[in-house]
Subunit: 480 residues, 2 copies
């Protein structure tokens, strides 16, 4: 029996004394904390839900004193298994779900200081009366702490940036015997006073420290928006269209999402209340969802954004586009956001959250589709993505009715093949916006230079000498 | 004699063999590299100007082998003395002035990969034919490497962010025996594959590694702009006006610069060809330079930006503003950019590059002016700044004709007083955009928590075990 499990009953008791009855979950009550949103399923020693930074410190001190590993968890919506415990039964899940007392809005500074357990939706509800929002858009409702740990991007990155771009300050508890509270940064847009230490905890999947509070830059809510779903004349035309849009309407571009025909069809066929916007024609091979947003008042600009977009598209006809469905934004976004559900209905999804320089995104997608068709002809590609920021959800489905039954070894071969293309042939990333977790750690080890891994390992040891916090080890191990 | 100086002739000879005659400067030829733009003057062992990354590596290997300290230097335009050698005569200045072969533009990706020694102006000349620019605006022409080391901000941060926000990838040479080249990041907007290691070298004044190349996100050049110089009705009105602007014309706001009456008067009195834009009335106590920029085409938006601004200002009359001078942007920016020259003509400037949450910027300026008037009545405040991002150049002049002669002890007392106000009373920063160098290192030590300094020291040791690279030590020393 390991040292951790030996000490376990004592540790659980001590943790219970810190967080109280409401703050400690055991047995079946832990189920929702042990199962990941897409990958990851394990067994926790216990789940603790501290209700204050002081309680987090006490929990951390207790775990560190007993050498018990600690896994910070927000809304557990991550997609690489980094927020769920492993199978050891030794990890304490530190849920931030009760760290949500503070949401301090400074409207004139366009900033908010917020506890880590507040969710994106709650935050935006609090910001709305001030005409402000935190404009990260994605298909889940993560906590602020989780968004920082994953450096969430989403569909509107091209206009607003990712979480890192909007993070002004961070409070974190170090997994050391003292459980020191680090206060990194302030509610300032300009502050260059030495190394920016908060960066050590952004996009690191909860490794190295427990994020307890953050100060975020927030934005003015748009007053109008315009949408269209357009069919490009060719792959080359997609980039021409994007460049033309940035040149002619660049102040407003908030989304430029690529939808493959397979992706649209999967959603149309399987999601209730969703119709083919191109009906009676079938869905095309590829379409782009364009969204513009204006944070300006028509009273001063005289601008009708939908009219401007329509006129732009009219001029693009036969140059870069051959068809277009104008507006209803809600309906078009519903189609976009239904793709994952539609894909799941077809069979077992094999997800690739990759990115390439956007100048090569269409070439990559074409080449990757060809590889699947040639080498894995029994698989079905349902790709879509964020063309403007180079992100592609190159998802592949093992169809429920495939002749060949699901085979993990084949899936492994596909993953190796696609990631190698992305990283080696297209100068891209094997994890664009989902981060690194147990699900894709092998590729971190394969594609991160040894010097970088040694540096990452050194960083981890600086803040977390026993490597107790978080489930991902970014250190220098043999490539797998 | 120290080990370094003992080894010196041998090291200089070896460095000369690496970089060749053109790449090595000695004696009087080093003058421009030894004198800082505002602070810092020292003596170098020699100046080396490697012409390739391989030469940088060889220089680093040579210095590390002999334990000789190494100081990376770009255009030497920094304002805290971090790019000039100390008085020891032991440091090798590694100038990046010949690292400028590469400027590889990917227009469709809106990115550029560029050698560290290329200057901002050169970069923008290369980008212009593509309709692109790197929109950091400041009163100097730094190199790309220097801008990363300082995390340059400037006057248009509110629209485009600082250098960190626009940095996609970095190449750096580690000051280790192997002089390993780190390639950190790629030309990607979404890439979350472990800790973002390039952040370790952003805003650290050249400490820890030699930056040799970077990939930057670049932006579409605006098609039209609008400017006005307005007089607010009160301090409170300034923030109301800023918030109204962001609500009504937020897509376009690119600058919102505060100019005190003293600042305008200093420029008007001492800079040739500059007239008082309010003539025949005298310059007001305070004015705001507003700039809007649109990257959109009038053909689609129908937007006349100056007209929109004018109409907005008209509606603000008697609410938040009491006077306004419309357009000529060139003339108004000339006034703004002439303040430093005007101030220097008055006497000896004591510069404060500080920031506070912008919601408190007017209160801070008022309080700080009152402190100077009360406690240092013989000094003259010439403050101006970037209201929209909370930055203030709260500059104070020891007038040439002051009754009391310049006294370094008084200046020290003033610095302590103002920085204490900023940091302790206004939750601000003692270095907003100039970074940390020998000039203000004492305040880093005073105002950085010991836990953060220990972490910074640990970071430094990870990449630079002998602490040879750069002149700033962010480590954990006794507060001064």
């Amino acid at each position: 029996m390991s040292r951790e499990l030996h000490a376990a009953p004592h540790v659980v008791q001590a943790l219970g004394a810190i967080v109280g009855e409401r703050g400690l979950l055991l047995g079946a009550d832990m189920a929702g904390y042990e199962q990941g949103a897409r990958y990851g399923q394990g067994q926790a020693l216990c789940v603790v839900r501290p209700a204050s930074v002081e309680e987090v410190q006490a929990v951390v001190r207790c775990c560190v004193a007993h050498g018990v590993p600690l896994l910070p968890q927000g809304a557990n919506t991550g997609l690489v298994g980094a927020s769920t415990p492993d199978a050891s039964g030794a990890q304490v899940v530190l849920s931030t779900s009760r760290l949500r007392g503070l949401c301090d809005i400074d409207a004139a500074n366009r900033s908010v200081t917020v506890d880590a357990g507040v969710t994106l939706q709650e935050l935006n509800e609090k910001l709305e009366p001030h005409g402000l929002w935190f404009p990260i858009d994605l298909g889940a409702d993560p906590t602020v702490g989780g968004m920082i740990a994953a450096n969430t991007g989403g569909t509107r990155l091209i206009r607003y940036g990712d979480v890192r771009h909007n993070l002004l300050a961070l409070q974190a508890v170090l997994p050391t015997p003292e459980a020191e509270v680090l206060e990194l940064g302030r509610a300032l847009r300009k502050d260059n006073t030495g190394p920016d230490l908060k960066q050590l905890f952004v996009g690191t999947s909860g490794a190295g420290a427990v994020i307890t509070r953050a100060t975020l830059e927030v934005h003015v809510r748009p007053q109008q928006s315009a949408t269209a779903l357009v069919v490009p004349t060719s792959d080359d035309a997609v980039l021409q269209l994007l460049q033309a849009l940035e040149r002619e309407l660049g102040d407003y571009l908030s989304a430029f999402e690529g939808l493959s025909g397979h992706a649209m069809q999967a959603a149309i066929d399987h999601v209730p209340d969703l119709r083919n916007p191109f009906a009676p024609e079938p869905a095309p091979d590829f379409a782009i969802l364009i969204e513009l947003e204006a944070a300006s008042s028509k009273a001063y600009t005289g601008l009708d954004l939908q009219e401007a977009l329509n006129q732009f598209l009219q001029d693009q006809f036969e140059q870069t586009i051959e068809n277009a469905v104008i507006g209803n934004g809600h309906e078009l976004w519903h189609l976009r956001h239904s793709i994952s559900e539609g894909a799941r209905a077809l069979g077992k999804p094999i997800a690739f959250d990759v990115s390439v320089p956007r100048s090569r995104i269409m070439a990559f997608c074409r080449a990757a589709r060809a590889v699947v068709a040639r080498e894995f002809p029994f698989l079905h590609v349902v790709d879509f993505g964020h063309v403007a920021d180079g992100g592609v959800h190159f998802n592949v489905i093992w169809l429920s009715d495939a002749a060949q039954p699901y085979d993990a070894a084949v899936v492994q071969r596909l993953r190796d093949r696609i990631y190698a293309m992305v990283v080696q042939d297209y100068a891209g990333s094997y994890s664009a916006e989902h981060g690194v977790g147990p699900h894709n750690l092998a590729y971190y080890r394969r594609y991160t230079a040894p010097a970088s891994r040694r540096l990452a390992q050194g960083l981890r040891r600086l803040t977390d000498p026993q490597q107790l916090c978080g489930t991902v080890d970014f250190g220098d191990h043999e490539a797998q």
